[in-house]
């Protein structure tokens, strides 16, 4: 079985008496090391699917397998531990912890995980920040960094614990094209070196250019798939 497997996934949001079908039956398997991009119009279900793959939510119907575990069966703590041990997140709005420096944001992610770097977390955090080009900005707080720099810190934070899966929701939405290219190159490099699995949700054509596998979602269904 692949690293991620979605079986007949449906997700329905209830808003009072109105039911919104965000996903209408998704079957998908993603192997380790894939560099996958999910695209589609707003409201098509991209982010909903990413949330399910990221163990942030549970499906209304169907089964989500991540790294051999069925997330439907996990309680809130189990989901938290699943995210901590297997998944890294990168969001459009960076979501850095404002009271921590760039270095601390990255090391914090490492410290809370049960990774293999517990005894040399400082070296490992600095190493990853250097890889994303922020070796000279370790002590800067998020409010002292540009948008591109913040996103690099977010990438470093997602990658520092060497997760098997990284989910990136619109990671380039707030970046200019040059910076977007830089951060995509960093992620592609990590993918190739560490065989980390990446799943992107995006509208950005540049992100799609980098993808090894493209999935189009419309109205809660995968309508097109392309491998490169």
């Amino acid at each position: 079985m692949g690293l991620v497997k979605l079986d007949s996934i449906k997700k329905i949001y209830q808003d009072g008496e109105i039911s919104v079908k965000a996903l209408r039956g998704i079957d998908l398997e993603i192997e380790e090391g894939e560099f996958t991009t999910v695209y589609g119009p707003s409201g098509s279900g991209k982010t909903t699917m990413l949330n399910l793959v990221g163990a942030l939510d549970k499906p209304s119907e169907g089964t989500v397998h991540i790294n051999g575990s069925i997330i439907n069966e996990l309680d809130r703590k189990g989901l938290a531990l699943m995210r901590r041990d297997n998944i890294g997140f990168i969001f459009q709005s960076y979501n850095l912890i404002p009271v921590l420096t760039a270095y601390e944001n990255v090391e914090f992610a490492l410290k809370i995980s049960n990774g293999n770097h517990e005894n040399h977390s400082r070296e490992r955090s600095i190493q990853v920040l250097e890889q994303v080009g922020l070796g000279d900005m370790l002590d800067r707080r998020p409010n002292e960094l540009s948008g591109g720099q913040k996103q690099r810190v977010a990438i470093a934070r997602a990658l520092v614990k060497e997760p098997r899966l990284v989910l990136a929701d619109e990671p380039t939405a707030n970046l200019d094209s040059r910076t977007s290219k830089e951060v995509l190159e960093i992620m592609l490099d990590m993918n190739q070196k560490l065989k980390t699995t990446f799943i992107f949700s995006t509208h950005d054509p540049m992100v799609m250019e980098y993808a090894g596998r493209l999935l189009e979602i419309r109205d809660g269904r995968i309508t097109r798939e392309e491998r490169r």
Binding site: T47, N51, L56, R83, F91, I97, L100, E104, F108
Partner: protein, 415 residues
Amino acid sequence: MYLPKIAARNLFRRSGRTFIIAGVLAFAIFFAIILETFMAGMMEMSFGNIIDFDSAHIQVARPELFDDNEDPLEHIFTPSEEMMTEIQNLPGYAAATPVLDFSANILAAREEFPVRVRAANPDSFNEVFRYKDHLIEGEFLKKGSSGLIIGINLAEILELEVGDFYTLLFREKGGSLNTIQGEVVGIAATPEPGMNLGTVMIDRSYVTAALGADSTVVNQLKVRMIDRHTAVAQSDNLEQTLTGSLGENAQVNSWREVSDMLVALEVWGQVETYFIVALILLVGAIGIINVVLLSSLERVEEIGMMKAMGLTEVQIVRIFSLEAGGLGVIGGLIGAGLGAAGTYLMVNFGLDLQMLYGEATLEMGIPIMGTMYGVWKPGSFILFFCLAVLVALLSSIIPAYWAARKDPIDAIYHR
């Protein structure tokens, strides 16, 4: 390691809000410490004054003397040699003196005033009490003399001075009325207001004949011990030893049992202190709940990201509770610092009760005149500091759980 760091930095992220809430807690702690200091000082001085001017450390009498409001002359006895030996053999014994109290009216010029007459042995009385040190005019009693010592307030009311004549009108032991006349020989101003108004003193050997009683009779033996704690510990032992020696059971009361009104006042004072502190801490707790809620609303995306990173709800609660605990520590430290400054002033410079309460001081029944000094109570510093931290921690738990249980998706996308 990172959770306390995040909590500490968040405390100073909104420093204005932090110091307002910490200020409320600090005020509660300061207020509690000062009240404790004030009450402890008042009790210390009150008990001291009662011991030095009225009850001594231990009193020995017939049980009825303490139980009813009848004429004290009904409960006289003659102390035996064995009784005096037992008292003198008490561990920690310092001195003892016989006292014969009775009720009378003092007449001077055209005024008449009800008083308690304390007939005392001039020599041994001053070994037990501190009355002589507070004579502001005249001299102390002399054996066999009809001289009277009166308190300063009574002297003012009756317009009596040293050398003026007085008359005491009283009912002797047989029930018939009798009088004693003589000169005022001394005026006393003690720190115990009751003694300045309602008590006069006369030589016991002079007065017993007029009372129709034997010259050896007393109705109380007053005993001074080396300290208060010894007195409390030894009073029960003495009562057991003296059982039967007065014909009936003897009652031995320590200063603490005699001062039951003060003990009740002390308890009420503490209840009052804790009630006021609880009210202020409640305001602080509401403030902390407010701070945690506001803080969690401001940091929704941050909470969402922490949940996405895999922090459990308990870890997120810990961050908010550490922040609240930090508020408690800051408030507690400021409050304890202010409390220490206030206590220093109270201990070294005191507080003039007359200035604070005016003439009402006399009516309050507190046996203190003039300046009252505070007492250091290190235990109350620790107690109230811990209380502030505990209240801060406890009041943060529910809002912290509310924050930690946010749906991670709603939090991340701030929906």
